[in-house]
Symmetry: C2
Subunit: 361 residues, 2 copies
Amino acid sequence: MEIDKVTVIGAGYMGSAITFPLSDNGITVNLWGTWLDDEIISACKKGPHPKLQKKLPAKVKLFYSKELKEALVDVQHLFIAVSSQGFLQVFNKILDNNMQECSFLVLTKGFVDDGGRVKSISTAARDILRSRGLQEARGLVGDRSPKGKYKWVSIGGPVKAIELSHKIPSATIYGTSDSHLRDSVKSFETSYYRISTFDEVTGIELSSAFKNVYAIGLGICDGIFKSKGQKEYHNLCAILFSQSLEELSIIVEKAGGDANAVWHLAGVGDLYVTGRSGRNREYGELVGRGKGPMDAYNMMLEADRLVEGYDTLKLGRQWIQEKDERLIERLPLLKSLFSIIFHENDPESEITRFVKGYPYP
Amino acid sequence: MEIDKVTVIGAGYMGSAITFPLSDNGITVNLWGTWLDDEIISACKKGPHPKLQKKLPAKVKLFYSKELKEALVDVQHLFIAVSSQGFLQVFNKILDNNMQECSFLVLTKGFVDDGGRVKSISTAARDILRSRGLQEARGLVGDRSPKGKYKWVSIGGPVKAIELSHKIPSATIYGTSDSHLRDSVKSFETSYYRISTFDEVTGIELSSAFKNVYAIGLGICDGIFKSKGQKEYHNLCAILFSQSLEELSIIVEKAGGDANAVWHLAGVGDLYVTGRSGRNREYGELVGRGKGPMDAYNMMLEADRLVEGYDTLKLGRQWIQEKDERLIERLPLLKSLFSIIFHENDPESEITRFVKGYPYP
């Protein structure tokens, strides 16, 4: 099935960047900004997107936060590109508009704190749908019902928004158990936006979330060594890189997902990009250089640079604990990163200790 | 079994660097230089190693090329760290000394041209042993005989020699089907030189060889974009990185090896390092910037910077052809790289064409 109209929820980096390949496919795109995005929408009506620093495609229709209802008219495919902090509220608002049938294409990464319980994004969504007595989304975790009216796709892979908006060749992976939807998402493909598909959500969703945490680790490694004036320490980074993927696959399997997701774009590919550049890596580098983890987080936040991996580490650690309290022992790198960020343990001592125990069973 | 004496064959970067963890374990180390290394041995007798720019550990015994027999006295464990071009000649010379029993720990990466037939290093070694009527090496490809007097370990993983010599934490992987030897190699471990083991040779050997080729690809990608003044093109590099590993796993499986090697230090880890820095990457960048592939190779060779990935691409392409003439169709990135380097196709056009076809089945 060809998809000819979509609404993008969230006008930040990624929500705005995705409008480029969509528009290039002749798809009608409504871009809705949350209450935090009203200034962005205003700016985009006059000139370039203030974050992407590029004008959005001409045919994209812009909607202020108060215009959600209008933005959803006649739309059955929603990209959700808000931050994990905003997810619960925004998802509820969408459902308030009596969407009868909808596919959610979800770019939000991380975990949510749903009244004291930590949940993955897709689990939180499922629970909201259930609490509203709605038919659950096909493709959601633990739900393979072919009759659901609400479908779910988790999107992962190495796609930096700025680059996508400049049409630098990028590849992404869409994970859903709905085979029809897997075919349909090919409607979004362009010569510069290549789409792989994967047959489940969990592997993609958890890889996308936790890779931000492990990218902090790669940044820490860089920070430690740069602060010593060392230019060459690639060997150590490679241990962290390899171990990060090992641990991602353990996490995905524990959650009942397919760890093959890790060894492809959502894990290997995305960690490669996120460890090379971006906020999580930059944050890690500050910490590795000796900046206090909380100070560094707040400093970046003030500069409007939210470090998602920080929140994912905090909530993800709790989520791991709730899954299986012994699981953390199989994730020594994650455990070290948690000690550095939340117990303020010395980064170099922690990383050295981690390496001395390598390889882990 | 503890190992207390080894000889290292080849006094270049890696052969010399490995003497550091060995010495730190109290192991007696003979370092033998080939006929190309005599100047290095002379220099090391007086001061720092000219390539590593660091003095070797005091107890390392240095041997000139004419002193091979002396270097092999009472030794049953040989690290082989010559280039692939030198392998056949050196391996024959070693056997000329009537080694009765020996474990070969092999750092040489790539392929050899054995009288017109392209062979992996371990296959070439096996054939030499056979031709001499010697008992085949336990742990060699296709040979699981428990009685062989000649054992084989292929060593892989993300270990840059300079960093190892400066004791930057590094992790390596030793692959052999001999379980006793897998235990014994733990004798080489230090706090900064961590050793994983793997139960076969092929996965390690082929990952180590072909990762040099794919690192050229990552360099080409950097070169193309840097030459355009683009700073951000991580998304594209990540496609290449992920696809490189996919193709490595196809190659290893086709050769009857265990592709799990790819998803660990020998593939993921080593490609990460080799794509970040080093000669193969640097060569790729020159080509990506528009330098002729042959000129760039010769220019680097004149500066004593052999680009191993170049030779591995040439011989590896032939080896692939001999394995299965349709196999190359499942390796579209390798095919593109071969076109760029040996047919002098335009790098950007080739990479663009490769991306347009992504994802590959």
